[in-house]
């Protein structure tokens, strides 16, 4: 039905030519899509659809690849020493626990981006599109809702922890927006109606009655989005699965294994949520913008990540969930090989990320940076193909573009191809 409605949309000129070519000449145009569209079900990589859940860990500020996942010798070398891991690659000694689970991870050392300013770079990392004009682009959580539908009857399909819900549904309906959790230890608050349910029902009825005139007269996107937020909030208040948000149901052992801070507890919450059927959870970790005193700040923030991340990987594995859960470590850019004082500045043209679980190769390094860590040397990975790879693992039909409200076809990862070499 949706496709029939799409046919009534305004973007028919391109479709018309496409269909003519397909019908009369047997051609499929839009060459950017030819690779995966040529795949039938049988030809698909076995990793397609393995990742039922995605946990996206966002290191906000810009993780220095040289001081973490891509250690260098010579001039670029930072304060940390390289150490061995349980796989064949090295990391720096800021990340000893990460090193102990390295044989389950796939490290990408050849990420390439262009934007060196935090906010637009984070937008780019979360959406794979550059902020441009008035259009807002969706995150992978929203793409998941678009292609795969709701992941749970009683819980939202997408949740973000330690951040607000902006950079969420993009041009899709506000029902694809993530639910924002400000403090994982408090879980979800304000789900109990003031004065009980009966009173709340009457209030809502009165609200809709009084406000209906305004909503009809000013039926624009902003108002419609708010209508959606209220509908979703009311649905969530009735949900039976709200325990998923309650970390006090975990043992104190489990809670301390993840670390007593908002990122660690956020990772634990993410595990609880995917266990209960949430498809996409982002957990944000602030404090990686090390312009000054990099050595000091890394020794503050790296152990927090190191503990939480390794606990998450082990916990997922023990529960047999790592096969079906793709854990992503992303950051908006890397940091420069040369020091500026005792810190490093932003460096988007070469940095590192991590994928783990969900059918990704284990103990594997993809791509290579040059000796200084300045440029990508082998197998560059654009943010677009990073997104497409994750979407492919999650089983999204990424060759079918979505039509934005302005009538433009939009694809996951801006139409770039997934990198199948990442998958086992």
């Amino acid at each position: 039905m949706k496709q029939i409605l799409d046919k009534l949309d305004t973007s028919t000129r391109r479709r018309f030519v496409e269909r003519c070519a397909a019908a009369s000449l047997g051609l499929s145009i839009l060459p950017g899509n030819s690779f995966v569209s040529a795949q039938t079900r049988e030809q698909r990589h076995p990793a397609f659809g393995k990742a039922k859940h995605v946990i996206w860990l966002m290191l906000s500020g810009g993780l220095s690849h040289i001081d973490s996942l891509d250690p260098k010798k010579g001039k670029s070398k930072g304060p940390a020493k390289p150490i061995r891991t349980s796989a064949s690659f090295q990391v720096t000694d800021y990340f000893p626990r990460f090193a102990s689970v390295a044989d389950r991870l796939c490290v990408i050392r050849s990420m390439e981006a262009k934007i060196g300013v935090h906010k637009p770079a984070q937008y780019f990392m979360r959406t794979a599109f550059e902020p441009r004009g008035t259009i807002v682009h969706p995150t992978l959580g929203a793409w998941g809702s678009h292609y795969l539908g709701r992941s749970s009857d009683h819980l939202p399909s997408s949740v973000c922890v330690n951040r607000r819900s902006d950079q969420g549904n993009g041009f899709f309906s506000s029902s694809y927006a993530p639910l924002a959790i400000g403090d994982p230890t408090q879980g979800i608050s304000d789900v109990e109606s003031i004065g009980g349910r009966a009173a709340a029902r009457k209030r809502v009825a009165l609200l809709n009655e009084l406000d209906s005139g305004f909503r009809t007269r000013f039926n624009d996107k902003g108002v419609a989005a708010y209508n959606g937020f209220y509908d979703d909030a009311l649905a969530l208040m009735k949900s039976k699965d709200l325990e998923a948000f309650d970390l006090s149901k975990e043992t104190s052992q489990q809670r301390s294994a993840y670390g007593d801070h908002s990122f660690g507890q956020g990772c634990l919450l993410a595990r609880r949520l995917v266990e209960s059927g949430v498809r996409f959870v982002e957990v944000k970790h602030d404090g990686w913008d090390h312009h000054k005193a990099l050595a000091d700040e890394m020794s503050d923030v790296a152990p927090v990540f190191d503990q939480a991340f390794s606990a998450l990987i082990k916990d997922l594995e023990q529960r047999g969930m790592l096969e079906s859960t793709l854990v992503v470590v992303a950051t908006e850019f890397g940091r420069k090989p040369n020091f500026d004082g005792d810190g490093r500045s932003h460096h988007p043209i070469c940095f590192s990320t991590v994928l783990a679980g969900g059918g990704v190769k284990e103990g594997f390094v993809y791509g290579k940076s040059d000796d200084a860590g300045y440029y990508v040397d082998e197998n560059p990975v654009s943010v677009g193909s990073f997104h497409s790879s994750i979407a492919y693992a999650a089983g999204m039909e990424i060759t079918q573009p979505a039509i934005s409200p302005s009538g433009r076809p939009m694809s996951v990862g801006d139409g770039e191809q997934p990198i199948l070499e990442l998958f086992a």
Binding site: R164, D166, A177, G182, D183, D190, L206, D211
Partner: protein, 152 residues
């Protein structure tokens, strides 16, 4: 008008309930919390009403937001701020002093929307009163309306 001026100054005569546009200081329990946004430290903790409503975390520049979300709707409907507004706000106290229902409704409309209610709106509210709706519920409905959110 003298009353409106005192609201702008943030100096409300003590018999009308203390300082702040909407808040009274008669409840000391959260007296330190009820300050104007400009008087609070920034940023507030992540679960604070202002952060939910889009205040920047100040980790990176230009990070405030005017987009809504489920969390914001939940806080507006069920949060501590709303509970306080419904029971203990200056607007509620003044409305309760009015002798008849229509004047109470009118005062809440003026407080929230800076306009008089339309006749139909007054009728709708009066009908609601007969269905066990209380004055606080009217305030709740006005503050949760799209009109309150979008008309500045």
């Amino acid at each position: 008008m003298a009353f409106a001026d005192s609201l702008l100054d943030g100096k409300v005569p003590s018999d009308q309930g203390g300082r702040g546009l909407f808040m009274s200081s008669t409840r000391t329990r959260r007296a330190e919390t009820w300050l104007r946004a400009s008087e609070l430290p920034q940023p507030m903790p992540p679960t604070h009403f202002l952060r939910i409503a889009g205040q920047s975390a100040r980790e990176v520049a230009d990070d405030g937001s005017t987009e809504g979300g489920i969390t914001e709707s939940l806080a507006m409907m069920n949060g501590e701020v709303m509970e306080e507004l419904m029971t203990d706000s200056l607007a509620m106290k003044l409305a309760q002093r009015e002798s008849n229902r229509s004047d109470q409704i009118s005062l809440l409309y003026r407080s929230c929307f800076s306009r008089e209610p339309l006749d139909t709106e007054t009728q709708q509210c009066l009908r609601a009163f007969s269905q066990e709706i209380e004055l606080g519920d009217i305030l709740w409905a006005l503050l949760n309306s799209r009109e309150f959110m979008f008309i500045q």
